[in-house]
């Protein structure tokens, strides 16, 4: 059949299509007008602009591909040490965040009752003027306080917030990051004095154990860990590392692991100490490291050998003694070994204990400062902003505040919210709605009206990372100093939006006095440039230039600055420079030999979703349509039930079930799986938004609403595996 004569008749027979418009197939010919008209571009020629990703703590450096004046794709920045050219599922869907149909297109002022969702479009001047008047009111009366509620910010965005809050007398900086692993940071501070996530040299490790942390799919830094584990497995010919996952649920990390230990929720701490017990008993620990670089080893050794006998722990944790013994010896013999804790295991009453226990286990194996072990992040040598005499308020965990104090919002006159959505990611029993309703003025920096912004009086639309200046110091990082930088890729933002730091600058100028002096820059770009001049001064690392101006443009073009030939550092910052085998934190870990308890009640295990994280990316259609790696659910939620448990409750796959805890209940489809402990029920975070754009609104269920806000002194975040629920099958009428 010759193609030549294929369409010899097409021109002739073209009209046959006139009846059905086959001349030009329908829908294929619309010309896409670009929304920012005066963009200069040559059609068909691609341009790449570096940018950074804010969807998760990973902080990857990305390249945004611009075609025909439009952002069409996001790719990993090949030079960036975290992403190395790759990206995760949420990074890939970012172009949809910029061109999202439900983006806030201009400042909105509330009309009608709070939370009713009626808004009036206002200009930026009116919005800034309202903000200035509210904050001026706070300044006048010392009893009034300003509160700034943010997520776990990084880079100079965090410094801007801290600097802004420090200029007010009565001021508080509240932080809410549902999967922020705050207990891990506290544990690192207690044991090594470094309150930052460690950098793990995964590429040279041989054995990786994750306690609760699904590091490969959503929580810490999926791209960095993905590459690290990939290299650990097949990166070195002839040597293949092993991955062991200790979790009550078979997450994607546990599925990709060589071995999955389904530990009972809450028993992780004692399981880790049981492993330590075996290593101490058989003296497999790294004596060199322990003698000269640690303190308090003997008391720790005594305590562990006394209390955490593997036989006792095995029964309670639901893992066999042989496995404990074997894994412990494998970890010691086939190092270098890294143990990582995170997610639900480090929340709740035993959270801090688990994190500290894991650090001690790493110390026993001598992992600190060893090739294939653990190093501390090194901050890039930014030059400091002009220092202020004011006191910078220490960040307080919002959840701890809400549960401890009776009236957490006392005295707060104005609340600014940025990069967090507590109404969605806090249990209703924590009283977040009450907290917000008592505060006279609430302003929210956000690109989308989400559950929290719905309760605000003023919404200040935030530009997306493609339209604003931004910098980021990724933590956890790779040990070397890394700073990501991103500049707008369009001459002006798509809509009437402004980035949060720029708004703060204009408000500071409006307020005048000490606040204005604290911010001597006209724009956030200037402030960043001032800070980044320090990187130019050291004249080393990936970008070195003769003049500061050229350094700045080269850094913008490269997407940041990093210094790859800096020696990795692992010296502890404790008073004596030694690693402290902290004991008080371990008091809380006891072998709670509680009986199996009421078999009708199950532990609710909440985990971050691969596609939505804590719900931050739920508004993107590509991610909603994505089949979840472990449950294949699209556009909704499912609750995972163990196969044998489901057969006892005669629930079959796809039935509608009701999950009831002491503080709430919800209805969701059940999915039968083998990859879950029988006494656990697993629900993914991320769905069940009341308000977050058309793709996420009312889709799926929100597990946070079920969690109990148990009071506890050292709680940082919501306990994710400390709530028990009942599961009942709903008779399907349809």
């Amino acid at each position: 059949m010759k193609r030549r004569d294929f369409l010899k008749t097409t021109v002739v027979t073209g009209t046959a299509g006139v009846l059905f418009d086959a001349c030009a197939p329908p829908g294929s010919d619309q010309i896409i007008p670009i929304l920012i008209p005066e963009e200069e571009f040559i059609p068909g020629v691609e341009e790449f602009y570096p940018t950074n990703c804010v969807e998760c703590p990973g902080g990857c450096g990305l390249l945004a591909r611009k075609m025909d004046g439009r952002l069409v794709k996001v790719e990993g920045n090949p030079a960036h040490p975290i992403s190395r050219g790759a990206s995760c599922v949420r990074g890939q869907a970012l172009p949809q965040a910029m061109y999202h149909p439900d983006r806030v297109r201009g400042p909105l002022m509330r009309e009608g009752a709070r939370g009713a969702g009626q808004w009036r479009n206002v200009s930026w001047d009116d919005a800034i003027e309202r903000l200035v008047s509210e904050l001026a009111a706070v300044q006048e009366d010392p009893s009034n306080a300003l509160a700034f509620l943010t997520g776990a910010l990084r880079g100079h965005r965090l410094d801007m917030v801290r600097r802004f809050t420090s200029t007010f007398e009565a001021t508080r900086h509240l932080v809410h990051e549902p999967f922020g692993d705050g207990a891990v940071l506290r544990a690192h501070a207690l044991t090594t004095g470094v309150e930052e996530f460690f950098a793990y040299d995964l590429e040279n490790a041989n054995y990786l154990v994750t306690i609760g942390a699904s590091v490969l799919d959503a929580s810490r830094s999926p791209v960095r860990f993905g590459r690290g584990v990939g290299h650990l497995r097949q990166g070195r010919p002839g040597r293949r590392g092993k991955l062991v996952a200790v979790q009550p649920r078979l997450s994607t990390t546990a599925a990709a692991a060589d071995e999955w230990l389904p530990a009972r929720p809450g028993s992780e701490a004692s399981l880790v100490l049981a492993l330590a017990h075996v290593i101490l008993r058989d003296e497999l620990y790294d004596t060199g490291f322990i003698e000269n670089r640690t303190s308090g080893f003997e008391e720790f050794r005594a305590r562990v050998l006394a209390d955490f006998d593997p036989e006792l722990v095995a029964g309670m944790a639901g893992v066999s003694v042989e496995t404990l013994e074997r894994v412990a010896t494998e970890m010691a013999m086939h190092g270098p070994t890294i143990v990582v804790a995170g997610d639900a295991a480090v929340t709740g009453p035993t959270g801090l204990g688990t994190a500290v226990a894991v650090d001690h286990l790493n110390a026993l194996l001598g992992g600190f400062g060893k090739k294939g072990g653990i190093f501390f992040n090194q901050d890039p040598p930014f030059s400091e902003w002009p220092s202020l005499e004011t006191v910078v308020p220490a960040p307080e965990a919002l959840f701890a505040n809400l549960t401890k104090e009776s009236d957490a919002s006392s005295g707060i006159r104005a609340l600014l919210i940025s990069d967090t959505n507590p109404v969605h990611t806090l249990p209703s029993s924590a009283g977040i709605d009450g907290f917000l309703s008592e505060i006279p003025f609430v302003a929210c920096f956000t690109s989308f009206v989400d559950d929290t912004a719905q309760m605000a009086d003023l919404i200040l639309p935030e530009s997306t990372p493609f339209e604003r200046f931004d910098d980021d110091v990724p933590s956890p990082s790779v040990g070397i100093p890394v700073a990501t930088l991103s500049a707008p890729m369009f001459s002006r933002p798509l809509y009437d939006t402004m980035s949060m730091p720029d708004v703060l600058l204009r408000v500071a100028a409006g307020l005048g006095g000490t606040v204005a002096e604290a911010f001597p820059w006209a724009s956030y770009e200037e402030a960043l440039r001032a800070a980044w001049s320090g990187l130019h001064a050291v004249s080393r690392g990936s970008v070195t230039e003769s003049t500061e101006r050229r350094f700045w443009s080269r850094a913008l073009a490269a997407g940041g600055w990093w210094d790859e030939d800096v020696a990795l550092n692992a010296d502890c910052l404790t008073s004596d420079g030694l690693y402290r085998f902290e004991l008080p934190a371990l008091e809380s870990i006891g072998l709670d030999r509680t009986a199996a308890g009421d078999t009708s009640r199950f532990t609710l295990y909440v985990y971050p979703s691969t596609a939505f994280g804590d719900g931050r990316s739920a508004h993107l259609p590509f991610l909603q349509e994505l089949a979840d790696p472990m449950t294949s659910v699209r556009w909704g939620s499912v609750v995972e039930l163990n196969a044998s448990t489901a057969s006892e409750l005669n629930i079959s796959d796809g039935d509608l079930v009701e999950i009831t805890s002491d503080t709430g209940s919800l209805r969701v489809r059940a999915q039968i799986t083998q990859g879950l402990r029988p006494d656990v029920v697993a629900l993914s975070a991320g769905q069940g938004h009341g308000e977050y754009g058309r793709y996420a609104r009312g889709r799926g269920v929100n597990p946070f609403s079920l969690l109990q806000a148990t009071t506890g002194s050292d709680l940082f975040e919501v306990p994710l595996q400390a709530t028990t629920v009942r599961v009942t099958r709903i008779k399907e009428t349809s």
Partner: protein, 441 residues
Amino acid sequence: MEALDRNQAIEDSLLRPVFQTSRKLWVVVAMLLAVIAYGGFQWAHQLKEGLIVAGMNQPVYWGLYLTNYVFFIGISHAGTLISAILRLTDAEWRRPITRAAEAITVFALLMGTSNVLWHLGRPELIYIPMLHPQPLSPLIWDVACISVYLMGSITYLYLPLIPDLALLRDRSPRLRWLYRWLSLGWQGTPKQHKLLDRAIGFMAVAIIPIAVSVHTVVSWVFAMTLVPMWHSAIFGPYFVVGAIFSGIAALLIAMAILRKAFHLEPFFRPIHFNNLGLLMLTMACLWLYFTFAEHMTVWYGNEPDEVAVLTSRLSGAFSTPFWTMITCCFVIPLCILSFKRTRTIIGTVIASCAVLIGMWLERFIIVISSASYPRSEFMHDGGLYSPALVEIALTAAQFACFALLYIVFAKLFPLVSIWEVKEGDQTELEAELTGTVEARL
């Protein structure tokens, strides 16, 4: 003289349905037109929206349209094959039923091929496979064979019609010009008769391989793929047997309806129903043999992908249609048709209704069950295909259009071949005379 008025009686009783239309018939036609109109409306809706309104999904790409396609092409085999074989074997009892059978063939073919228009994603490009076929594709073989078969069966219907057209040309109160044009100047001269008999003889011989080729090629659309429980050598003969089987059933039902509607009791006598019933019984056994052979080899072979489809049929999602198919296609016909007492007109009609339902289900199971369980287990059809409104509406419209065409044909041309019946009547008379002599010899 006696022979003359016998012929006259035959002509009158057979031409009456052509000339008079009872009121009841207009009601039936109106109903059929309503169903067809609704089908047309649904088709326009599907043309605008695309196949999104139909029920097909990933991995079940082929649905009701293709089931109907195979079903109607199957029915079309009855006409030509039965009338051709009976003509060649010179079975006297075929005389009144050949034209009814050939009419079923032509209209069933038209209905079958219209399914292709509804099945295609872009029906406006239906001309591309005709102009620029890709010869390796079984679909192109389909296009070729079916167009030849359609031409063949139309001529095979038209040739025996010519003498009756001449009769109509002389006696019809209306449309004389049409009958004159179509009868090609037939005068009934012996030369013309010899020419006509030779042509019909040739067509009877030629149509049989074409008919067999059509349904083999229709089955190869499935058998040529690597899909579990499609990729099997038995599909060719299996579909041909299925075709003849469902064809006979369709013919029996058509004959029963015509007998009632147009009072053709003297022509469709119980002997016809009895003989066709026996033929259907043999086909039922043959069909069961093929079905058993196919499923047995798959069960015994125990290949995982194939067994997945087999278990879905025997005990899984398709078990109810499967076992209804077995009962309808074998058990009911066996019970009814194997005893002379029950092989009456009503008996055979009940059996053939069961057979038609069974054979439609067989096509449905073959197409949908293998499509729902592809080799990639992860892609097994979670939601299980269920036909959407537009598919059901179009199926109904298809049956209605088939009936309507049949009624229009009955209104334009006599449904029983008058000259053959007269010829048959002649030989019967002589046989009676000689018969007595033979009986005595």
